[in-house]
């Protein structure tokens, strides 16, 4: 048995033992709670900032988050075209607390998206990065706990997300016209 499978069994082994923990994990694992929270945090960042300049920096970070998430999604799709890894419940007995997704297990799309947010969040503000990172980690852990991902899938997803954030962070100069256009439109609508 690989380390990955052993780790998966260790974490998934706790499922169905403690109803409260199962409830918490089912709350975290679904496709809505953590992604919605991350999007709301990004929306809140768009409006925050004491001065126009600080707000413009935050708004650039939000546009970067959107681009990083799109890039992470593209990278995950490309990986899926190259390599297909079956989900844990397809190859072994698991305690499944979620529906059966049919796409490739590696890399985890959930991990990639959450850490694309967290990566850009960290570049803008350490506190925001940590908050988004904690949400992403909880999301990833819940995916293993509920039997839909191996730990390696999540790790690969995290890597893809952080790589996307890093690429977007490095390409600020190239992306500047796009960001400026977004902010200009927002200002014309009194929303930036």
């Amino acid at each position: 048995m690989t380390v990955d499978a052993a780790l998966f069994q260790l974490v998934n082994g706790f499922a169905t033992r403690i109803p409260l923990l199962d409830g918490l994990m089912r709350l975290l694992v679904n496709d809505y709670l953590v992604p919605t929270t991350l999007c709301l945090l990004a929306a809140a960042l768009w409006f925050s900032g004491a001065t126009r300049e600080e707000r413009a920096r935050n708004q650039r970070a939000v546009v970067s988050m959107v681009i990083a998430v799109l890039l992470a999604n593209v990278l995950v799709k490309v990986c899926n075209l190259i390599y297909f890894r079956p989900r844990p419940f397809s190859v072994q007995e698991v305690k499944l607390l979620f529906y059966r997704p049919s796409d490739s297990s590696l890399p985890s799309n959930a991990g990639a998206v959450a850490f694309a947010f967290a990566g850009v969040g960290w570049q803008r503000s350490r506190r925001l990065g940590v908050l988004m990172g904690v949400l992403g980690t909880a999301f990833g852990f819940a995916r293993i706990f509920c039997g839909v991902h191996y730990p390696l899938d999540i790790a690969a997803g995290v890597l893809v997300g952080l790589l996307s954030a890093c690429v977007v962070g490095r390409a600020q100069r190239i992306l500047e016209p796009l960001m400026a256009a977004f902010i200009a439109v927002g200002r014309r609508l009194y929303l930036a």
């Binding site: 809505y32 992604p35 919605t36 999007c39 929306a43 529906y99 799309n109 014309r188 929303l191």
Partner: protein
């Protein structure tokens, strides 16, 4: 799972995101002081906004995550569809919040909007080129000092009622100019309005022509500085939240801290790109006031004029930043009215 079922789940998620969005925008409005989004009446404490927002957010989560488990644990909208539903729900909630805020602003009076108690006589004045309302003290014993009040562009003459009443109580006449229409602010025609109003005051037997002052709000503040610069007869000038620079009329989120979305659109239309502010160029004309007293008042929460501090002006200018107040509240705040009236009275009396 059928595409149709996925779309149904999408609609359920949309309903959740819309309700959660309503709560989220209330929290954002409370945190950022965005009047255009807040459902709370003007002057209400921010904590009510936080409370309303949190309650809505929690209720939405309890409903969706507590009762729609079957939908949640079925394959739902994929990443792009998820973003589509979430973005449209948040935008719908944003528009709804703005509309509700507009209705609250229109139908729920703020605490400081209590009817102004008139303390004297008032009469409407219709001259050829301008109109306004002359407020005279109730008691006998004129002639009294007089102050010409100039409102902000787009604001009605009634907005100056509290200031006029405050002056009347201290036995100072007030002539509030009605400059509601955009035509009155056409440059250079606008420069003629104050000299004509002052000429009217001088002809009035109940007014002491030796003790004349000017008070302007917003763009009216810029205009009174400019008018006083070219008229040495003016004894004291007060500019409440003057714009002073075209950058103060730039569009953006800061406008929504001060006014509703519709008001922001109207305000922006009236100011355009700030051409009148630039042409009045009140800052450049400040030195021409020489040693005549000028008081500039800003609210600390006024983000449109946040960059102005005491050091931005010559030493002779008295600068007052009022904590906790935005631009809109300044002319209604009893403390600002009281201190401004006392300041005017002191300087008008001193010069006689």
């Amino acid at each position: 799972m059928e595409f149709r079922e996925q779309i149904t789940i999408g609609y359920v998620f949309f309903a959740f995101a819309y309700c959660a969005g309503l709560g989220f925008w209330q929290i954002v409005a409370a945190r950022q002081g965005l009047r255009a989004l807040s459902w709370m009446p003007r002057g209400a404490k921010h904590r009510w906004g936080y409370l309303a927002g949190s309650v809505l957010l929690v209720l939405a989560c309890v409903w969706f995550f507590g009762t729609r488990t079957e939908d949640i644990f079925s394959p739902g909208p994929a990443s792009s569809e998820f973003l589509f539903f979430l973005t449209s729900a948040l935008l719908a909630a944003l528009v709804s919040s703005m509309l509700l805020s507009l209705l609250v602003g229109r139908f729920v009076p703020a605490r400081e909007d209590a009817p102004v108690r008139a303390s004297g006589r008032s009469e409407d004045v219709h001259a050829t080129w301008w109109k306004g309302t002359l407020h005279l003290p109730a008691s006998e014993g004129g002639p009294w000092p007089a102050v010409c009040l100039v409102p902000d562009t787009g604001s009605e003459v009634e907005a100056l009622g509290a200031l006029a009443a405050g002056l009347g109580r201290k036995k100072v006449s007030a002539l509030a100019l009605d400059m509601d229409s955009a035509e009155t602010w056409q440059y250079p025609d606008v420069l003629a309005s104050i000299p004509q109003a002052l000429a009217y005051l001088e002809r009035n037997e109940e007014v002491d022509a030796e003790r004349l002052g000017l008070l302007g709000v917003g763009l009216g503040g810029d205009l009174v500085i400019r008018a006083a610069a070219s008229d040495p007869q003016i004894r004291a000038v007060v500019a409440i939240a003057p714009l002073l620079s075209p950058s103060s009329v730039q569009p953006g989120l800061d406008l929504l801290r001060e006014m509703s979305y519709l008001e922001a659109i109207r305000w922006r239309r009236r100011h355009g790109s700030g051409a009148v502010v630039a042409r009045l160029d009140a800052l450049k004309h400040l030195p021409e006031l020489e040693n005549r007293p000028l008081l500039i008042v800003y609210g600390e929460e006024d983000r449109l004029s946040a960059r102005w501090t005491a050091t931005s002006f010559p030493r002779s200018v008295e600068f007052n930043k009022i904590p906790g107040l935005g631009r809109a509240e300044l002319v209604r705040d009893p403390q600002v009215i009281s201190s401004t009236v006392s300041w005017l009275l002191r300087h008008l009396e001193a010069s006689s």
